[in-house]
Symmetry: D2
Subunit: 263 residues, 4 copies
């Protein structure tokens, strides 16, 4: 059995998130003998969206592919490069006609193909197309091109995320939740071979609220007044998972959480 090792990293928040990746990702790749690294980049640019320059910076740091989420459009620069950038997906259930792509099949260095799908939840989120039907349609389309199917399900409600895990069990290699910025401890291999975790967590400043300065978020909750959110300072963390995949069948063999903290 030939094993592919995938690293998947939770929402990267601002410069601190990018910096800790630049510093630690090369070693982590070696340490875990990683074949491919996917990261959620929806908060990479100062907490809000992404720019072409920042996407390049992340690719140079050792990330191979970016998924996004509800913050996709926050930084207008995204419209300048989303069509051309083949290493990035945005939620596939945005309406037809939306710039960018919702999934991608790519061939990695080892010659293996991987399908990567980004989907957004609807509970407590934007009114997009049905995430479950979107997943069905894409998997149907790509299943002959690749046995490895990675799903970043960017969603708020745990019920919707777990439902997606069970729904795709046996059809996806991995269903990994993002968006809540808190890593969950429920990683497992579902009965039909799909690795699942409700949320990958957040890559960025650890003494913060979802990567943002905690004082301003608290002030917002208490005063209900508008506040200016800034990315927090101080030590950072990398959150994510390592998944071992049977290259032949696309089944996940092992899923393990990764939570690297700066001292």
């Amino acid at each position: 059995m030939k094993i592919m090792i995938l690293m998947m990293i939770g929402d990267i928040v601002g410069r601190p998130g990018r910096t800790i990746l630049r510093e630690k990702l090369p070693l982590l790749r070696k340490e875990y003998e990683v074949d491919f690294v996917i990261a959620n980049g929806e908060n990479a640019a100062g907490g809000n969206g992404i720019t072409q320059k920042i996407a390049q910076e992340l690719f140079i740091s050792g990330i191979d592919f970016l998924t996004m989420g509800n913050h996709i459009w926050d930084n207008k620069d995204v419209f300048n490069f989303i069509e051309e950038e083949a290493r990035m997906v945005r939620p596939a259930n945005y309406p037809s006609g939306t710039p960018g792509r919702g999934y991608q099949v790519i061939k990695i260095e080892s010659g293996i193909s991987i399908g990567i799908i980004n989907i957004s939840g609807r509970t407590f989120m934007n009114a997009l197309d049905c995430p479950f039907r979107t997943a069905d349609a894409i998997i149907d389309k790509i299943k002959n091109s690749t046995s490895i199917v990675i799903v970043d399900f960017h969603a708020e409600a745990t019920s919707e995320k777990i439902a997606m895990g069970w729904y795709l069990d046996g059809r996806a290699t991995l269903v990994a939740g993002t968006h809540t910025h808190v890593q969950t401890a429920d990683e497992r291999i579902l009965p039909n071979g799909t690795a699942y975790i409700t949320d990958l967590g957040m890559t960025g400043p650890m003494n913060s609220i979802l990567g943002i300065e905690k004082e301003t978020v608290i002030k917002k909750f208490i005063s209900q007044l508008p506040v200016r959110f800034e990315v927090a300072k101080g030590p950072s963390q990398i959150n994510g998972i390592i998944v071992e995949i049977d290259e032949q069948t696309g089944k996940a063999q092992k899923i393990q959480r990764m939570d690297i903290k700066e001292i």
Copy 2:
């Protein structure tokens, strides 16, 4: 330093949740040398609310105290005993005049007093009073009666839960989130001595969606038709934490996750 050991258990779902506790809690209490066990019981009665009989059953199984949440009123039997039952709290930020109590200070066997507060979040939840001001007011009231203050913050949004953790750091012994039914991996001791975790997780059937039969929840998401939710069958889990507390200062010394699965 005299250490008190607290076990706190995530939302108990239906008969499967109660059964696994009856079977395993006595041994777990011994194994961890637990002084006091708090559990969230909002889903104890068939997934919806609680009854007096079920509360008694849980006390007999080794739970010392029950916290609740948004499902508090789902089973009407609660109105029959909530006023008399001193070992149960419901979210304190329900409006004044609401049956039951939002916090309680009790003396445990060792002679130590513990304050237990239940608060509900407001983001994506019911329109209740400000959770932060509610916490302030109660802690002010009880801080002379007890140095140990346990907060069950029953909330949906990770931002609101983490904000409460930081907000009460140094004033509470523990801020433990409940409601999402998925255990998070972010347990830590905050700088001023408050133990924190975003969610304790769920005690009930593990091959389920939040304790409910997965087929029906998936059907609901896909069809948007009404479905009848039943508690799932099959092996169960106990989710929770063990917290070591300095009895003198009320500061948390250690927090560790507990995730017991039936084989």
Copy 3:
């Protein structure tokens, strides 16, 4: 120019709503020389949904066609007859596979065809398919069979409703909002011939809150406790509109509000 006169009636609430229609609708039909009566029946059965018996009762009272809304599934009896009942539509943007139909083209007594479409909004409502694309697709399908297109847009937010009015201006004969149970005073003919009103209002007890006993609704808001909603008693009202339509072109010539109160 041959004119067709359409009456469209806002959400019928419970027995009081049905009773006032039985008593007054025959005379109103004569008085306004009405050719066709459409009514929203989503609250006809005790405030929640509809039954086959109640649908029959409404047809006998002089209603020719029923539209529905988010309460469509509240009474399970609907599943027994929705497939067979050709005089009823439910929101068309429920996912494919949903029982019932989202639109219907029918030939009325005068030999004229009318297309009737029911669509649900998404803002503050269920996660359904895009209402605008749904409208596009249906109108495309039926425009060769009928020049008269009536849209019941069952939605909460005024922005979404007005957007639909402008969006369909020139393609629909009438875009009439329902769901808020309060008649709006913004009826008008849009520049390209579409009659528009944000909400038709409610047919049922006038000293109530949306047709429900006011004391219980107030209690709910104040206590946040569960309450049992009952349809209110006392005098009723009929809310709706009269629209004059050019049979040839399907353009609306005139829209006028109707607000009949029991003394």
Copy 4:
């Protein structure tokens, strides 16, 4: 019986709203023999909030008093003058410590006192304090200083607005809803003398969606992409009501809708 005539004007949107008021308000005041004019100004500055300069402009145009809503903080200039400006209120159920005042009792030219209260709803809106308890507390405080109590209830849901009307019937002179920007046709005098209307409507460009360019709002709904909202152009309307009040008792004698359109 001495009658006071109150005009109350719905949400003023941007320059078009201000312009039509400057042109028509002086004549309308004369025509209706108005004693006092209250207007909702939350969208007066380009659709978002208010500035000191714009408040002054509105006072000069003949508005005596301004109420606000959820857009109160959109334009930061409000923080520069809200404390000093005695002729403006913001929702009273913002938490204590919020800049500005939630109610005001003022003596008008004729020597009569009027209490003006601004409250925000919570359904589909911000998490503020209970609007009903807030109303109770303020009315208790001011009822000895004035028999005339005007409430601008800035809320989304018709249920919450009508509930407030019935709740204050006999204690307020007028409960007028704002926020949805669509005038409702349900104006009435409730049994105990409170005038009520669910929404006053909008003062601004009539060929628009809530005052905003319709193309951009439609684009937003269809594409779910961020769009830049601009106040619409073209003819405007003034929406509001005229209420006749018994100065002695503070009871409303008559409420009539006002809907002035530019040709």
